[in-house]
Amino acid sequence: MSTTEAPLTPGPSVADGDADAPREVGRRRRIVRRLIGNPLAVISFAVLLVAVVVAVFAPWIAPYSPEQTDFARTFAPPGTSGHLLGTDDLGRDVLSRLILGSRASLEVGLLAVATALVVGVPLGLASGYFRSLDAVISRFTDLLLAFPFLILAVGLAAIRGASLGNAAVAIGIAQIPGFIRLVRSETLRLKSLDFVTASIVDGAGDLWVLGKHVLPNATSVILVQATVAIPAAILGEAVLSFLGLGIQPPDPSLGTMLATAQQFAARAPWTAILPGVTIMVLVLAFNIFGDSLRDALDPKGSRS
């Protein structure tokens, strides 16, 4: 309950029902307040905000075109005038490539998680709610889990060509089982609660129960899972691009930058370190924010 002090005024005897309920701050405001109270959450959110703004306005922010080569100035170290973070083996501006590479990473992350959500959430709901579908969907989940993610990506690249979109779909498919299992267990939990039962007694159909009661109450865990899945997808993109299964050169991507840089790591370490650090910062920011969000959403954290 809340910590509202009861007004100590001599009132006429009010029924329990009439008495003022201890007023609590709205749920949303409480969550926001908790997030603001956590410095790590604020920092990670700020990093993500900057990343998103940079990604959206990338073409305008980047000082050069990421593909513009300058063979006169290859391997310029960071701090070179005109190239804040230096240039790579082809004389391309590293800062511009990082900006557009991060944008590609975020795109893959969002696209992959969107794929996983669109498929995983309905299947998870169905699996948890309808007993008859549970076995089938669970076997399907096992199948997906058993399928090696890299083989899937290779296959997809072979059939449809290696591209950002296909890499995202491959990563998204690999993330589907996680969402199915999470949503399934949450649905199973919610299904057994009295408010769902009461709704069924009052004549609610399955779609009503799922849409009005189960899904709204499952959103917070889905949200938290998504914030964890995005950085995983970003890492996945880096791996795929590193292996040449993702974004194709000369398009910039943090993964391809790392892949090319490894040949010159000794000569121009910044070409490897900078994309590596960028990946790390993005992934960390998402993970930390996801963790803080989980804590903020946890009703037990509110002490009652």
Partner: protein
Amino acid sequence: MTITPLEVDHRSGSGSGSILEVRDLTVTFTTESGTVSAVDHISLDLREGEIVGIVGESGCGKSVTAMSLSGLLPRSARTAGSVRLHGTELIGAKEPVLRAVRGRDIAYIFQEPMSSLNPVLTVGRQISEVLQVHERLSRKLTRDRVIELLTLVGIPSPLQRIDNYPHQLSGGMRQRVMIAMAVACDPKVLVADEPTTALDVTVQAGILDILRELRDRLGTAILIITHDLGVIADIADRVVVMYAGRVVESAPVDELFARPQHHYTAGLLAASPAPGRHAGTDRLQEIPGLVPVLAVQPDACTFAPRCPAADAQCLGSAPPLTSDQNALGLLPGHAFACWHPCGKPPTSAKELKP
């Protein structure tokens, strides 16, 4: 370590000194939405062989009081005041001191016997562990002692039950095992926090009997915490009524039920359904309003907003816990914190409705 009957005159209570002395115990919690005052300057005594009941509704601080006795509260709690066990101060004592006290001197049993037992260990093993923590006994002696304990708490065929896992026992049996673990080291004080609330009523009677027997045979002082006035009437020698973190009334059990002085006590008595007690009426007495959750204890009677007898004095200053025996003809040991006590019996419906 044999169990010998101990002659204790538990009804009089005044002969022996207190085992446990609680003085001005105050507990506040710091939460993210501010401080909460859970217990405010509580004093109580527990004598050898005495069963004292703490009664109150959820949020009145009765469980917090129990946990604070041996420092079992979470870190967010701030405890002040004094808790003396045989003269040893426990508030502010170092963790090793408290650890030695827990189990050996002050033992606890809780509401949920299932979650308090480890599901993968036999009950015999779990009781043995308690014995081994505090006493060094040989294997054979330990096993004998465990069987003795199981017999003591009324578990039939203890030789078989000793090798049972918790899930093989009924709820009542599990609570008996919990009691066996609690009394394994002959504690001076047994704190029972809602020990029968999760049990069926036909099982409850047996558990209360066991507690009574422990007191009679071992002289254990028992602090029983409950919301159920029926349980209090059944087992307690003395009752402490708590409301919003304060003691509002304390008295020998018969005295409290016959002549409640605080209007909260009277209201609680009238609100409890009990077969036959309200025969003829078809309504139960209600206590209007809600138990307040307080950030700071005010200098006022915290029950005043719900009290039919409240006036400006009640809102202006907190009534001290007094025993105004002469004026009201109360028994010794009957104390209450009210500016306008209910007075002489009968205290019933008409006094509650203004």
